[in-house]
């Protein structure tokens, strides 16, 4: 199982937390495709708090967090 957490405007029309069945080799790119989010809409894509490349496989039980361009303070 992979937990995907969505933030800011990615929550519009979607649940804020979505679970995906794990399979070997699943990548960030596949996950956002399933969510209908385009790569260029994502500013921060982290897996367990660490940066990852879109085509790197994600491990089972991981938490994926996705943010659009957001802000500072």
């Amino acid at each position: 199982m992979i937990k995907v957490k969505l933030f800011a405007t990615f929550r519009n029309g979607r649940e804020k937390e979505i679970h995906f069945e794990y399979y070997e080799g699943i990548t960030g790119r596949e996950i956002i495709e399933k969510l209908g989010i385009k790569e260029e809409e994502v500013a921060i894509f982290i897996v367990n708090g660490r940066d990852k490349k879109w085509d790197e496989p994600i491990e089972d039980e991981a938490t994926v967090s996705l943010f659009p361009p957001v802000g500072g303070g």
Partner: protein, 599 residues
């Protein structure tokens, strides 16, 4: 004379004398304005060893050359003084509308000297400047004092004032303007209080002058376009405010929890920008000519509509105190604004008191009469203690001194999460190495807005850096600190830098002021300003050994969450930083560097 008003107002409160002086344009070319120029003037006039709350300390309220112009976000003013919290140069910056109004009244800055023998306020209506009796305003909350002055001077007047915290010389007192904007940090409000100066009310009618009006129009519209098209300044900040950071920072495992004992919380979403927008947001609350409008206007539980909490405040009174109740935090924020307290230092000082209590240093009998606990997570406590701190009542008197002096009084200064006695903001540096170097080397003590390394290390702007590595970080910190010094000196908002780069500021400054800066000379001015501030601190007796972080952040790895296992590696970064700054190994700027920058 373009951009600048060309005039300095010097007000001696002891002698009740008001003088008008010409701005020294040669100095302005070197130190730009605002933060830089006011620091230079302050250093030329004040002994760095001055006692911050004595009449000999001065307080400068300064705008920049772009303040009050059509440049987007050009409403900033800065407060320069020797800071009571840190003993370093004090340099606090605020938005709203006061700064632009001061410029349109015809002044680049006001220099306050001495001490009035009874409470006064200053009224400025263009050329008419008066020192007035403020005994009827003394003791009043910020909104009460502001209302009263607005009723007298009209709704177009702009008011800067202190609340009871500044009057009572709290070392974490802010200077407030336009009700809910704050020159928040380092206790600058106490300096105003020590001078018996309650408020400044200003009304101006003069238009800004431009070196090249057509070019300014063109450049300004280009920069507004860039700000609107940037994801951070065009969408993230307008929609959610700075509070949007709560989830971002938490997901990276660097949201300090319970006085930096942990760095991740499962409950962070409850105090996030997303939750604030959904549950309590009424509308946006923009500053002068700002296309970003990150400020919030929110509804409190009792129905009152007030200025809303920033990210820093949501964290300081929230996760850092173990609290995840957005209504309670919004109320604590409201009381900080009313008493005139810095929300970062106020919230984190309560968090430090909570750890002192948890570890048995603060005993129940000490706080029994106050009626509030110091248990992490106690919602009533953060509101109750904020009021007591603002009024210096009961144990609140100790809190009003800030976390360092509080923890030191129990023999455990190491429990204060501060640098140079100023409380750290909302990012655990163990998981952002460059940002930690920035904390350690900030000229005003623990601070995130001297060189906001969260931008490249977390947000990926202008490019993404690995937050755990050290390579190149010292160089990045220097450039960010120098550019920030420029932005603060010009009188625009730091948030523009998500969308604009050094070349954009060059274009704005040259179009408005008719100067001929380029990226190199503008950044060199930033470096000159940064080095000047450093010199002040050294002359004021701040040992470069104080360029450090609390032991906890250097020695204890983050216990859980996405940054688990990391400590901050300051000792590996600092020598490189000194080297590229042209400072000796002892952290003191070399003669050669001072000459090169012509400080």
């Amino acid at each position: 004379m373009f951009g600048y008003a060309g005039k300095v107002l010097r007000i001696n409160l002891t002698e009740k004398q008001i003088k008008l002086e010409d701005l020294d344009m040669n100095l302005a070319r070197k130190y730009l304005g605002g933060r830089g120029l006011a620091t230079k003037i302050f250093m030329d006039e004040v002994d760095p060893n001055v006692e911050p709350l004595s009449p000999e300390n001065k307080l400068i309220v300064a705008s920049g050359p772009l303040t009050g112009t059509t440049v987007p976000t050009g409403g900033r003013y800065m407060v320069i003084t020797k800071a009571p919290l840190t003993g370093t140069i004090g340099c606090s910056n605020s938005g709203g509308y006061f700064g632009a109004e001061l410029k349109s009244a015809g002044y680049d800055m006001i220099i306050f000297e001495g001490k009035a023998d009874s409470p006064v306020y200053i009224s400025i209506e263009d050329d008419k400047v008066e020192i007035k009796d403020a005994s009827h305003l003394w003791g009043k909350l910020v909104s009460e004092a502001t209302d009263e002055l607005m009723n007298k001077y009209g709704q177009k007047a702009r008011v800067l004032c202190i609340g009871p915290a500044g009057e009572r010389l709290s070392k974490i007192a802010a200077i407030m303007n336009d009700y809910d904007r704050a020159a928040g940090r380092s206790g600058v409000g106490a300096v105003m209080g020590s001078k018996n100066l309650k408020a400044v009310v200003v009304k101006g009618s003069k238009k800004a002058k431009y070196a090249d009006e057509e070019e300014t129009k063109k450049v300004v519209s280009d920069k507004i376009k860039k700000i609107r098209e940037n994801g951070i300044t065009g969408e993230g900040l307008p929609t959610y405010g700075t509070a949007v950071l709560v989830n971002i920072i938490n997901e990276h495992g660097i949201l300090p929890v319970k006085n930096f004992q942990k760095a991740y919380s499962e409950d962070a979403d409850k105090i996030s920008g997303e939750t604030m927008t959904r549950d309590i947001l009424v509308r946006r609350n923009p500053c002068y000519r700002c296309p970003i409008a990150c400020g919030r206007w929110v509804k409190l539980k009792d129905g009152r509509e007030v200025g809303g909490p920033e990210y820093e405040t949501l964290w300081a009174f929230g996760a850092d105190c173990g609290i995840y109740d957005i209504d309670a935090i919004a109320e604590a924020n409201f009381w900080c604004n009313e008493y005139g307290l810095d929300t970062i230092s106020a919230g984190t000082t309560i968090a430090a008191a909570m750890e002192l209590y948890e570890k048995g240093y603060v005993k129940d009998e000490e706080i029994e009469e106050d009626g509030y606990s110091f248990k992490f997570g106690d919602v009533e406590a953060i509101i109750g203690w904020t009021k007591k701190m603002g009024a210096r009542e009961g144990f609140g008197d100790k809190l009003a001194e800030g976390s360092y002096r509080l923890c030191e009084s129990y023999g455990v200064p190491e429990l204060s999460m501060s640098v140079k006695k100023q409380e750290l903001p909302a990012y655990d540096p163990r998981g952002v190495q460059g940002h930690g170097l920035e904390y350690a080397t900030s000229n005003r003590g623990g601070c995130h807005v001297r060189g906001y390394m969260i931008s490249p290390e977390i947000l990926g702007s202008p490019e993404k850096l690995d937050r755990f590595t050290l390579e190149g970080k010292a160089e990045w910190v220097k450039v960010f600190q120098d550019l920030t010094a420029v932005i603060d000196s010009l009188g625009v908002c730091l948030f523009t830098s998500f969308a604009l780069g050094a070349q954009d500021y060059v274009e704005l400054m040259n179009a408005v002021s008719g100067t001929d800066y380029n990226v190199d000379t503008l950044l060199e001015a930033g470096s000159r300003i940064y080095t000047l501030e450093r010199l002040f601190n050294i002359k004021a007796g701040i040992d470069p050994k104080e360029d450090k972080l609390p032991d906890r952040l250097l020695e204890e790895p983050i216990p859980e969450g996405p940054s688990k296992g990391h400590v901050h590696r300051l000792s590996e970064l600092l020598p490189k930083y000194y080297e590229i700054r042209g400072w000796g190994r002892d952290g003191i700027p070399t003669e050669e560097t001072l000459q090169k920058l012509s400080v």
